[in-house]
Symmetry: C2
Amino acid sequence: MFETLSVDRVYEAAERIRPLAHRTPVMSSRGFDEEAGLRACFKCENLQRGGSFKIRGAANFVLSLPREELPMGVVAFSSGNHAQAVAIAARFAGTHATIVMPSDAPRSKVEATRANGARIVFTESLAEREAVCRGIAEETGASFVPPFDHPWIMAGQGTAGLELIEEVPDLEALIAPVGGGGLLSGCGVAVRAVNPKIRIFGAEPAAASDTFLSLEAGEHVGIEPPVTLADGLRTLRPGALTFPILKSLAEAVVLVTEDEIAAALKFVLLRMKILIEPSAAVAVAAVLFRKLPAEVRSVGIIVSGGNVDYEVLRAL
Amino acid sequence: MFETLSVDRVYEAAERIRPLAHRTPVMSSRGFDEEAGLRACFKCENLQRGGSFKIRGAANFVLSLPREELPMGVVAFSSGNHAQAVAIAARFAGTHATIVMPSDAPRSKVEATRANGARIVFTESLAEREAVCRGIAEETGASFVPPFDHPWIMAGQGTAGLELIEEVPDLEALIAPVGGGGLLSGCGVAVRAVNPKIRIFGAEPAAASDTFLSLEAGEHVGIEPPVTLADGLRTLRPGALTFPILKSLAEAVVLVTEDEIAAALKFVLLRMKILIEPSAAVAVAAVLFRKLPAEVRSVGIIVSGGNVDYEVLRAL
């Protein structure tokens, strides 16, 4: 039990987001299992509303806001899945969302966010986006929806793990990709509460190993802006709230190369017939290329999303 | 009730193939429904064992053979999904399969078939493959597994429709792609038995409209070898047994262009995050591009398979 997150908060989040988030299917594949040498269960958040797990945290956050704050709207920064998720959650809650995006965000993401009714504000640099966002919040009274480092967000993301472990209680291990750590901390708390013996792993691109390095050092380590296919995992350091939880729960963070990410995405597409995004492929690659301890015989993989830019897919 | 196929045969097939074929999920997509202007339910045979519905018919056929014939093996001709399905079914039944393939078959299909334990025999021309196949059957005593025109095959394929209509009984219409007609005739018989008012449609590439033309003429019409992305639908005429059933059950066969096939495949991949093959995209395209009568408010689509050659996918 952590100060910022207990499994009870995850159960409450599950109730709260039920009208908005899908209960996604758990898939398995004989071909994958043969290749990976263990039994893998895929929690398919690529089939989630908005195309990723992010709707879980965003919905839990927006629906946890005091009723009187809702009319002022919500604001968030994101060029990707969090943007769409916040837009969908705001519309569902009957309020409006402003999303701060870099001016070079892929058009498909901008359009998808706008299609969900959000107002878009562009910023020139990554550095100023949080400031712009907080400026809008102060000016308009809108509530800021953080991407990962908040108990409501972590609890929401944890519902993916809860659903998975309810469906497959006997898993020996869980693995999820790590960006800011909201997904793995939430899911870790949830699965450990249901199955106290489960082993918990994170996965990062070798090119974006901030959490790997931080766990090694035992404290927050920052990295330079990384170059990786996994656009959802380009965070520069673990969260203030997520890191202590990961430090306590995660046995290791496994690193994968860019080639392994691409190969895992292709394997899942051509053999399992589902489209996963590069960030999700990071966790899949860790299992497919046998980077878990050899004695692990079964693993649940949180397949975090399926939003791939057409040009990126083409390039693979 | 047809002489060659009744719903009871489909129910029996469902029992028989249960250990071998998956019960595939039925998916839906808000985004697709908005685009298509109706409610669509996707029966995901792309997630089926072997990557297509073909395992249903092949398994029902192999498992219906008299026990004393099994040791002599089975033989089939196919460069695609039927090949893998027969190989999987034969291995499951404890016998061996010989698959006759054109010498220019895509390497991925050859490998997949071989990986399922089948022996491959190559022929030079399309014309001689049936003869080669029947020659092997006579020489070795192996049972010939036809691709579509047999009551056991039709009954097996019908189990896809049965599962769909059991899960969504109130569908107003059903649509499936038509090659030889085994899938649509089997599914048509099954869904009509459960829901007598359901409207039944086929879908063909405009470039391979043999069943469309045959229904217009009221008799079998043959076509020249067609050029279409939908490699599973390149049959030259409807089956002797399937055609009378389609004539009686199907209200129309809807035609789609090659561009519409490619667009439907891409829409489903990028928006719904699942990979479907061009032949499956034919039925999806018919719905997406609003070719059903305007008053149809809900439709079940048999998404026949997900086996796409990597180079084909890249070219899209």
